[in-house]
């Protein structure tokens, strides 16, 4: 079943469509979550959260803005990241922060954030495919170095060295703190 057929099914029969979507994309979702939650190991709980999030947000998906797999990856990543933050807060006994409403960005902060994103986008466009993949694995998929190294056929040391050079380059292009 193609993505278009899957989306069509979701429109017609949401339950059946969701089942088909999960049958197809569960390994991908599990993979994205597994990288982010490698250290805390409650991936299955998070997968349930992701499924719930997908059910709730499915109407927001716009095929014109990107592929279905990109969108699913983004949802899984953000949910897993929130899950990780919550897990850390629990570990650090700072439960009070969990339910604390996050203050929205001011217009000035939003502008700064947007400007940073533009500069980073330009910098990423200048990278070679392999370096871009390394960057996304590290900062978007938040994969552990050992996983990145194994999947890219490198030793951890080589991956670390490459990542270090990549950071230096980005630091030069974007500006940032010294290591």
């Amino acid at each position: 079943m193609t993505d278009a057929e899957l989306l069509d099914l979701l429109r017609r029969d949401r339950t059946a469509g969701m089942e088909a979507l999960l049958a197809r994309y569960r390994p991908l979702l599990r993979y994205v979550i597994g990288g982010i939650l490698a250290e805390c190991g409650d991936g299955e709980d998070c997968l349930s959260e992701v499924c719930l999030a997908l059910w709730q947000k499915l109407d927001r998906f716009d095929p014109a803005r990107g592929s279905l797999s990109t969108w699913l990856t983004a949802v899984a990543r953000n949910t897993a990241l929130n899950h990780l933050k919550a897990h850390r807060r629990r570990e650090a006994h700072t439960a009070e922060a969990a339910g604390e409403p996050v203050s929205p960005d001011t217009p000035e902060q939003m502008l700064l954030r947007q400007e940073r994103a533009e500069r980073l986008k330009a910098a990423l466009n200048g990278l070679r495919d392999r370096d871009r993949q390394l960057f996304y694995r590290r900062y978007y998929y938040l994969q552990p170095l050992s996983q990145i190294a194994a999947e890219m056929g490198m030793t951890e040391r080589a991956a670390e060295g490459r990542l270090y050079r990549l950071r230096q380059r980005l630091r030069q292009e974007l500006g940032g703190d010294d290591p």
Partner: protein, 465 residues
Amino acid sequence: MNDWNEFDRELMETVTDLPPAAGTVRAVTPWREAMDRILLGLCLTCFTLNFLYLQYLLPAIGTVQLYLGFRTLRGNNRFFKLCWFFSICKAILLFTSFVLNATPYSDVLIGLRTALQTGIILAMLLILRQALRLSAAAADHATDRDPLLWAAVWYAALIALALFWPEPGWVVFFLMVFAFYRIAKSLHGVTAELEKWGCGVRASPVRLSGQQFQMVYYTSLLALVLLCGLLSNHIWLKAEPTEQTFTTAEEASRQHLRELEMPEEFLAQLPEEELRQLAGASACQYLENEETSSGNNKSPRLSGAMVYLGGGTARFYVLAEYADGVPLFWQNLAEFANSSTVRWDGACYLSYEKDGTAYRTIVPVQEATETVDNYFTGPSESTFIRAWYSFPAGAKNRTCLFICTQKLWEAKTPAADYYYDCIVNFYRSHLPITYPYRPLTGWESSYPVDLTQFCQFFQFSLPRP
């Protein structure tokens, strides 16, 4: 993430607004890089293109890709591990074969080596099929297609075509291309299958990066091939220092040859054992080559002598004197090519000076009867006497003396004056390395050679009784 600094956190926050492009999402999987390597490796090793050294380059690249791909996936199940083991065997076999190809042993067990390489690929296709089925089952995915089985079937068809039509015509060639297309298509089908459940596989850690492994493998292979090629293309001959001291009988023979008008400089090149054979010579004719085929200053100066020994038998001597500075470190070939008479006792001597000492060595000669296809007279059997030699680096005053005994006539005395055209070819390889190793074979050599030909007409007017 615990050891991240502010810059790392900033990157992580910022990239949230920049989700990866579809290409990056496709690339970030545990299997894609490894499986791309495996599929590329299988494609490159399934088909042989016999030009521009692609028959060596493509399998070398493919074999390394196979090893790197299976190395990443080896931890998933025992079939992947078995594939990894086969890829190691294939890499070792290819390495050994390529090094062996650079030596005179390039033909040793060539059938077995080819059969092993082919068998390993076929086995890999079938074992990889099992490995993927097992992984799919582990990911709760039922496979409805079997692309690797088809790839194995088409590969078997390709082998059958190669076996039954080793020199394919256009029809068989197109059939082979079609089989290869089917293999490539089937392998592409594997990727399509993995898109569905491939995120369930696991990549294993490695101790040597793919880039480092490739560098080590290719560099050591190239270095060994070059070294073996260089050593093999220099023909090692053990030379002894010579001292020109003659026994009384040899000195008498020298004097006799002087009286038969053999030039002194030519006489000086004859070894003692030859002088002894020529003691009873009754006539001698000496000729210098006036022209050479190459006709440049790199051609050796050629001269020859025919010494009549009596009873219709003559001994021919052809001397090649090489100019200093002409590279002779690689393969050289002296070949007695005239086919019309009976001859035997072929011999070849090299002489040179090095560090002020004169050396002489005997070069082994080989006699071979071959069918030569002449444009005018049709195919006929000819016997060739050949000697392969190389001079050591830095040698001076280098000469090659080629000798052969000819039966000129069977009757006690010839009916009339006797004429004999003597042809000796001296070949010199232009290349320090020939890959795969092949000895010089005269004009039919598949690499550039220099030829200088001694071609003279000897005429005897024997005294009538």
